[in-house]
Symmetry: C2
Subunit: 912 residues, 2 copies
């Protein structure tokens, strides 16, 4: 049934299973008002009330209070009498008083930004009457105390957060608690509460010059106007500015009957879920407390009881409570009040079916009458999210597209990494906070040197920062903790690639390698001490915390398969080893978008040859050293090609500056000198010579390939030879050779020439050939700006958005930690641009690059291989920008598959 | 007289003071052919000849040799007989032989890229006849030897530069010289030359299988075709590719009578200038040698004599030759052959008037007959360039615009800086080469530490690199030499600002601070040793070299004033001190486009307060330290405002990362700790904490102003207070406050808010106000990409193209020296993008920034303050992109004024 549309209605009533409004009227009624109307409309017993529209808010701000009262008076009286009829009480009647609440509600939720006043309708006379009627003196005085406090704060401006003001109410209560030697509000006696009411009234008068009006209608009007005023309060204005909400939206005001769960043994309050929020299982569940208010559940003094019998039995088992004790002390609502339970069960089914998602509901039973206070989509774990989506699909409540859209892709992370045992976590002592650089949980003993990572069975590698030399140790350690570096620092990027837990940039750590300790605040931690890392939150925890390994569910596989049906963008992976490649394929990667060849140069035998090359002063000397690296590199590529079984593999030529490969500590330099039969001074000189002020902007990428073409020659040969070798074994190969850090057309052309010549030479030598693509990273702004030229020669583009972001923002991702926290705090940045692609700036350049690239080469294949390739909002951007694929670390592949499908569903007119 | 236009003419004749072509026919006749025609057409006696058109070259490459000979035969015969008639000789006639040359000539000069054959028409028989006729056996055999050598190389392909080949001819000559124990070609006897001819013929036959044809016509055809072929030779193709010349231009071929200045005492050869190329003085001058060929002048065995009597007398005075000896041994041409001199003088006047510029001419007198071989615009010094342009303007030969366009702006540099005495320079021993970072010449004693720059009266500061701490020492030293860093390294930028000579990035230097020496190759230089630097060439010279101070001429002032008439873009300066500001105003700067405030923090008393601020852990601690800096900073600004007398002054807020202000050496850290009463460890920790991986992309610019707003507050207060103070003294002030390194709108808004609040506060305190502008640097790519947003708030943009170039290319300007030399060599880059603005990439982003900025703020004032603001081609770009002003270092202001005028003249339809 549609609500009747009325001309310029100022209030919309709800209650008694009918409503003037519906959920589609959020602009007029605000989110809360529309939702209350909707529930009532579908037959849910919500406490009756009415919504004053957002238009009235605008009228108020334009025409003023008097004008609004004039036009609204009749409506308001109608509204109240509507509530009175349903509640069978009268507003302001001491014999049978109705209490109401006044709440804000804008079209978008603005949590905590505007005001609320509860328990309107109370005054000394009504209090007396209500005590008589309810026979619950404590409840009434406590309600009165709360009303005065809220009215004083909201309507009379005694805001606790006003700078010049201390919170007078809290002060008074604190003093009384001290006097009584109690801690909790609930410990106040009736006498105490009376005293508080008296003191509150006094302080209000004293501080504001006003008394709390005893006229309920004056209370109502003033509270309503105060809520309208709060729309233009500082907090709300700031919140709107940040979120870009226009100020002419206005807020609605909801006037609603108060209901109380603490009015005796036929009253209760509770929270319930239509399905299990942890597992997703389709069982109704929840908790309640007899004769209690909502906040009593939160306070945790009484143990809440389970709503269903099944839930109660399960709880008893865990809590080791025997059946007899359970039934006696902790009966379920189902058992205790079967008919009210049946009613609740009916409503939860109705609500879930109506909202077509798992709901989180609040209810109150007042003197044997059930009221549903609120329903909303329930928060859930990643596991539950998947299971519920699949179940709802199977139950026919949602269709395939909706099932996919129900997934929050980032939540899949939980399903793929170990997590801390939630119980163990409760006792955890968090000693510091870093960046959540790579998800998962890890617990282990501290080591400070990568080559000692195997010193303990479970080690946590703690470094100021990591470098490529540390790779092997990082692989052995359970988790990685660094004091410096952002979300895309070396440690973070490598750890994510490995699917290993990492917390980076924990500035509070003072690491002393010599002493082998770290100081955090006052406390010292030594090598061998146990710590735990939460890579999903950035928490650093003292001691051991038990972890739980994740289990992959069949439902996840179903969602991923379904995603692939809708997805039009390929998902590849960034993988440098056959192991990573296989992991990524298991997660559904359709190719490798980035295989970094430099990671292959750090093995014990390889680094020696690499250093020999770097130390050589002549081209021939370098060629000799490269000759040693050739077979190893070839072997690496063969492994990857075999693992990928005919899927495309993009191999990036050597990228990092050479100083990353030479030892920076004297002992190692000495060793190297001995090994190479040269003087230590020669080694030191070379290391010094390689030092750079800004290595990020230095001699690396194709700048190396162009100054030392022999490196490119070796790598091209290794790629082509390995491809032919694998082909000989009957396995299809699709190599894609990627030139890094191109900024000018000629840089690419010169590299292209070398690679094509070597390839042709190898084809001739082997009398066999293999198709390959030759393309480039677009990671230098200039490359994007001149993409039309570069695309004439390049067969594919892969946007390297890590470096592109660094250069477009002028941020070094290793140093950004110094000011990023302040930038978040001040609202300069909302998200880390290295994590969430900056669509406005970096994205603009990407769009330019794609447009220009395709303008000269319509067949150009375009993808992304920066960290953003695994971040949902960035993936959506990639889709809209017209990319062919995204590439991300193996553990992000499932996320990217879902995000890619969501982008297609969201933006494509016609889907499969 | 216009040359008659003929249908599809294949040859164009010139000689006897007539011509078929003219200088406007360069596309058809090539540059050389058109110019020879032009000279002949205006009555200059050039050796007669004809030009085979570029179209024939294309025909040749399309249809082949035979086809071309067929259509060209009659023309060729006509052409030769035209020459024969004028020269009164016959081609191939042993009795009275005509010799000709065959030369290439494309529409644009491609020096050395194509081929030439001289002395065609010689064979054994002709040689005998010519000897009889000339009575000069040596001359004839030498000519024959040369002919065979050139024909063998060019026509028969015995190229000396062909890889498989050694130069057989040179080999033979070298052997004979060894045998005869002589060194120069001129020392060969007639007998030797005969022997060479014999051996040359033999080696040609032996190596190519062909003999030198004795038929002069066969020689002519083959030589012509060989020149056509050279159009598609490797060298020419490469040259065309680099310069973007299309291959269908083709080359013309010039066949011209040979004339000889070495045919006896009525023969001579010489070079002359219509004005003095050194001073610009309007006096005809030049040198000649009797009975000689052009190359004899070059060989330097005989002292050339002056052409004019005036010149001869001046020469004698300098050479300390008395008048008698002069007249006897070194008479001028004017004195020796007065009528030929008169003829030459008539021609030089005619030619200069015709070409309307100072000309550099070559002439030969053969047996009493004067031939002008070539004329071209003469190379000249900066001084001469200015004087000649102004004189030509006054003489009415050129108009104002032309006078301005005649200036090569970069050559003005010479006029503003000391230069080496050219004579002293001849003996200079160059020990290494760096980058010409800041022009001028300097000679002094080596110091390795900035704070010891005053150790010698004239010191040269030699550093691996410089840092802001070195500023004072740099100012004291005569010149600065660094081993690292590019054209826009700290040393280079600061030195140019100071107008001080600097050579940077001299990689060959091995500096050892401990030993206080530097090793270059095998040689060691110690503190106190004399060296000299040429900042205009990058040469590093051993020992003292005398320098000459420049004198500013009135003509320069005239050109600059004239430039301002045409210029529409303002020229400002980058200046941080009143001294620089005054220097720049004297050069004509109309404001300061960039005053860097950080340079003001390095004085002895200031750095202490600055360090105190950095070491403070609390906002209040920082405020206290800043409070100490405030009066000093205010004083700085007052000095600058006063110096600029009402011209606009753009002040940039603190830009560099804080670690530039703290000491990095232990001794200084200890001192600081003592001074601040804190532990050395605390100082070290702070210094470590400030360390960055990529400081260029780190915590600097408005990132500082936003994390430490108190810095911006202090600077804003200093600017506004100083402006009010200066205003009170009756001096107009126009402050423009510039926020550096903005990348997001909010960064600017937050800084804007602070600055406006402080300004309003100061206005209230002082009960006075001053107008000021508030704008930003556009130096982060993202700022250019989001310029439309930023321009809503900013009142001006100043493109910081140094940083913008770093980020658009991804080059650290301090590290780029590692690969830039290779990049030039390989043609990846043609120019240093930090010197010459990259219009394609960086320029594209600038255009985007300007367009977007003006789209939301049409009144936006836009300028540039990077190093490019003083580089002519970049200034032209700035004009075209629509900037309002350019700002450059004081010594570049005159250059920028001229370049700005040239841009306006070149690109504006309507000028004043």
């Amino acid at each position: 049934m549609e609500a009747p549309v009325r001309e310029k209605a100022r209030i919309f009533r709800f209650g008694n299973k009918t409503a003037d409004g519906s959920k589609n009227m959020k602009n007029l009624l605000g989110g809360k008002g529309a939702n209350l109307a909707e529930m009532s409309r579908i037959g849910i017993p919500v406490p009756p009330g009415f919504t004053i529209t957002t238009e009235v808010c605008t009228e108020y701000h334009t025409n003023g209070k008097e004008a609004v009262i004039k036009v609204l008076k009749k409506d308001m009286e109608n509204g109240i009498s509507f509530i009175e009829d349903i509640m069978e009480k009268k507003y302001g009647d001491p014999e049978n008083p109705l209490l109401v609440s006044v709440r804000s509600g804008a079209r978008k939720s603005m949590p905590g930004m505007m005001d609320t006043v509860l328990n309107l309708g109370l005054n000394d006379e009504v209090v007396a009457g209500l005590i008589k009627k309810s026979n619950n003196e404590r409840f009434v005085w406590d309600s009165y105390r709360r009303f005065i406090q809220m009215y004083g704060s909201v309507v009379l401006g005694m805001k606790p957060d006003a700078k010049e003001d201390t919170d007078s109410f809290e002060e008074i209560m604190d003093k009384l608690k001290e006097k009584r030697n109690i801690k909790l509000d609930t410990e106040f006696s009736v006498q105490d509460l009376k005293e508080l009411v008296r003191d509150f009234k006094k302080v209000v008068k004293q501080r504001t010059g006003h008394s709390i009006p005893s006229d309920p209608w004056e209370q109502l009007w003033n509270a309503t106007m105060a809520v309208f005023d709060s729309w233009n309060g500082n907090r709300a204005r700031y919140y709107r500015k940040i979120h870009g909400y226009p100020s002419d939206w206005g807020t609605a005001v909801n006037v609603q009957a108060m209901v109380f769960g603490n009015m005796g043994d036929n009253s209760a309050t509770g929270v319930c879920f239509t399905r299990d929020a942890g597992s997703g299982e389709n069982v109704f569940n929840g908790e309640y407390l007899m004769n209690a208010q909502g906040e009593d559940v939160v306070a945790g003094i009484r143990t809440p009881q389970q709503i269903t019998k099944l839930g109660s039995k399960r709880w008893a088992e865990l809590a080791k409570v025997d059946e007899k004790e359970r039934v006696e002390k902790y009966p379920s609502l189902e058992e205790l009040l079967p008919s009210l339970y049946a009613e609740l069960d009916e409503y939860q089914k109705k609500i879930e079916t109506h909202y077509r998602d798992m709901q989180d509901m609040e209810f109150t039973i007042q003197e044997g009458r059930l009221w549903i206070l609120q329903t909303r989509d329930g928060k859930r774990t990643g596991t539950a999210m998947i299971k519920i989506a699949v179940d709802l699909l199977k139950e026919g409540l949602i269709d395939q597209k909706e099932a996919i859209m129900r997934i929050e892709p980032m939540k899949l992370d939980e399903l793929l990494h170990p997590v801390f045992d939630p119980d163990a976590l409760k006792k955890a002592h968090i000693i510091a906070q870093g960046l959540p650089a790579s998800p998962g949980a890890a617990t282990g003993q501290i080591v400070f040197f990568a080559d000692e990572a195997d010193k303990f069975k479970n080690s946590i590698l703690v470094r100021v920062e990591t470098s490529p030399e540390d790779l092997e140790g990082m692989n052995i350690a359970r988790g990685i903790l660094t004091a410096r570096g952002g979300m895309t620092s070396h440690a973070a990027v490598v750890a994510r690639g490995m699917g290993k837990c990492c917390v980076s940039g924990a500035g509070a750590l003072n690491i002393d390698y010599k002493q082998r300790n770290m100081v955090v605040g006052e406390k010292e931690y030594h090598e061998g001490d146990w710590i735990s890392l939460n890579g999903s939150t950035g928490n650093i925890i003292e001691g051991k915390v038990a972890t739980v390994e994740p289990e992959l569910s069949g439902e996840l596989a179903e969602i991923l398969e379904l995603s692939d049906v809708f997805s039009t963008m390929e998902v590849r992976t960034n993988a440098d080893t056959p192991k990573d490649a296989i992991a990524a394929r298991n997660f559904g990667a359709l190719g490798i978008g980035l295989a970094r060849t430099e990671h292959m140069f750090f093995g014990q035998d390889r680094i020696r040859a690499m250093r020999e090359m770097i130390l050589a002063d002549t081209r021939n000397g370098r060629r000799r050293a490269l000759q040693e690296l050739l077979p190893m590199q070839r072997e690496d590529f063969e492994g990857i090609f075999e693992a990928m079984q005919g899927l495309p593999v993009t191999i990036r030529l050597l990228d990092p500056p050479l100083h990353e490969f030479v030892p920076h500590e004297l002992a190692q330099q000495k060793e190297l000198a001995k090994e190479m039969h040269i003087s230590v001074k020669a080694v030191k000189n070379k290391v010094d010579e390689l030092k750079e002020f800004n290595p990020m902007l230095g001699h690396r990428g194709c700048r190396l390939g162009n100054t030392y073409p022999e490196i490119t020659e070796m790598q091209a040969r290794a790629i082509i030879e390995s491809a032919l070798n694998v082909k000989e074994r009957g396995i299809d190969v699709k190599p894609e050779i990627m030139v890094p850090l191109v900024g000018t057309l000629k840089e690419f052309i010169l590299q292209e020439k070398i690679i094509r010549q070597i390839a042709d030479k190898v084809f001739t030598e082997r009398n066999d050939r293999v198709d390959y693509l030759l393309g480039t990273m677009i990671e230098i702004p200039r490359a994007a700006l001149t993409a039309d030229e570069i695309a004439i020669h390049a067969e594919f583009f892969s946007f390297g958005t890590n470096d592109l972001t660094q250069m477009v923002f002028g941020y070094s991702r290793d140093d950004v930690g110094k000011f990023l926290p302040v930038y978040y705090e001040k609202g300069i940045l909302m998200t880390d641009p290295f994590e969430v692609l900056d669509q406005e700036g970096v994205g603009q350049l990407i769009r330019t690059g794609i447009e220009k690239g395709r303008s000269t080469n319509p067949k150009l294949k375009i993808g992304i291989c920066g960290e953003h390739g695994g971040e949902p909002s960035s993936i959506e951007f990639c889709y809209q920008a017209g990319m062919d694929y995204v590439s991300c670390s193996p553990f992000r592949v499932p996320i990217a598959r879902v995000a890619s499908a969501q982008a297609a569903i969201k933006h494509k007119k016609e889907t499969v």
